[in-house]
Amino acid sequence: MTRHVIAPVDELPPGTRKFLTIDERPIAIFNINGEFFGLLNRCPHQGAALCEGPLIGLAQSSNPGEIEYTRHGEILRCPWHGWEFDIRTGQSYCDPKKFRTRAYPVNVEPGSSVVKGPYVAETLAVSVESDYVVVDL
């Protein structure tokens, strides 16, 4: 597993996402209310760029007529056929056992550790004072 420095935290404010390719893999990193998530940007269904889809909530029902709308902004809907994926786990809601997209752990690390640690960055000049978004791949 290699850790990759993605960006200084300020470059990925809440509500934004960043697309990149690491080791030939298309990846997207999301900042949702200050929490960071990383997903493989390829839908397991027919291969759409999954992370171009909107972030929605989860409509669930324990009984007909009773609908709860929860987890607003944590469910990613594929831009093609609308399959829904949990951004925390990569699991799909249409068939969670069979279909999932790869989720990658994303962390925020202080600049000092990024400079010292086993991180790999090509395009970023890492400065010690800031925090950085780091993904494990």
Partner: protein, 370 residues
Amino acid sequence: MNVQFRDRPEPASSASVKTAIADCDIHPARATRDELYPFLARRWHGHLETFGVHAYQGMMEGPPYPKTQPNASRRDAWPPEGGQQGSSLSFMQKQHLDPNNVALGVLNPLGATGQGMRNHDLSAALATAINDWQIEKWTSKDSRLKASVVVANEDGMAAAAEIRKRAGDRNFVQVLLLSRNVEPLGQRRYWPIYQAAEEAGLPVGVHAFGFGGNPITASGWPSYYIEEMVGHSQCQQTALASLVLEGVFERHPKLKMIMIEAGFGWAPSLSWRLDKVFEKLHGEVPHLKRKPSEYLRDHIFWTTQPMEDPERRDHLFDVIDWIGWDKLLFATDYPHWDYDEPSRVLPAGVSDANREAFYLTNALKLYGIS
């Protein structure tokens, strides 16, 4: 420090050279409502602005769009220059035609194209306009694209006149009808359409949707879009039973029809049921000389989007074996949300010959393109 790290992924599809395909259901859209005005007599500009279009179906503002995604389209299909999904040729080329190596793309315009309108003069004028627009904006600019002759479907005579006007023009490869009409499609009011299509040597495509004024399902208006989606097969079954039993194929032995966007897994059971009742009730329809299934097998083609997707692929193959590998036409439905990705729809285990027929040669043959 040797990490591959690009800021934006390349579109996966451009990476490999793919074999050529025919896409028999592409939906071109107008960027703006007045894009058709240059092709419409002036009187209709004012008419449209004052009265709008008047469909048979109520709630015209409700049913068509949006569904599931804006304009019922892929969310990544907005053209960068603005306008509706499907309205930009250059973006369609870049996003779909080039990377998927589409050798033939059949255009099926939907929306306010003149089909299913109560004012038949407006209907005919819009149909002519949309046909001229298809040439001007699409087929003359990209030779891979071919148009459908859109007709004023509820006015058989006007529709036949439009078909005759386009006969022999190789910009057009089929006549386009929709599945929901005022009456089932075999009825006499539509016969002039089949007569003219047969004379012109054009197959007739029947695309799901339409505004015939009747509910979407056989027992009324459903609550959910998901019911409408499966309701398309009911409409097509009604259309097919009507076409066969009214004797349309007996009258027009050269006529070919294409069922577009309503699935095909139900085709065998419809045929079996028709044949079974026909054994007992053929006295009611003595004009039929053959079993219903024989007309269906000889005259009907099916586009693949939506493909049935059973858990066991041999179930799919059984259905296709029954229908015939020579009767399926590949379609993506671009740019709509239920789009099928060419490289992902057909399970493994298909012979090269069948694969090629499925993706390309059936369509080239049917549409007479060499």
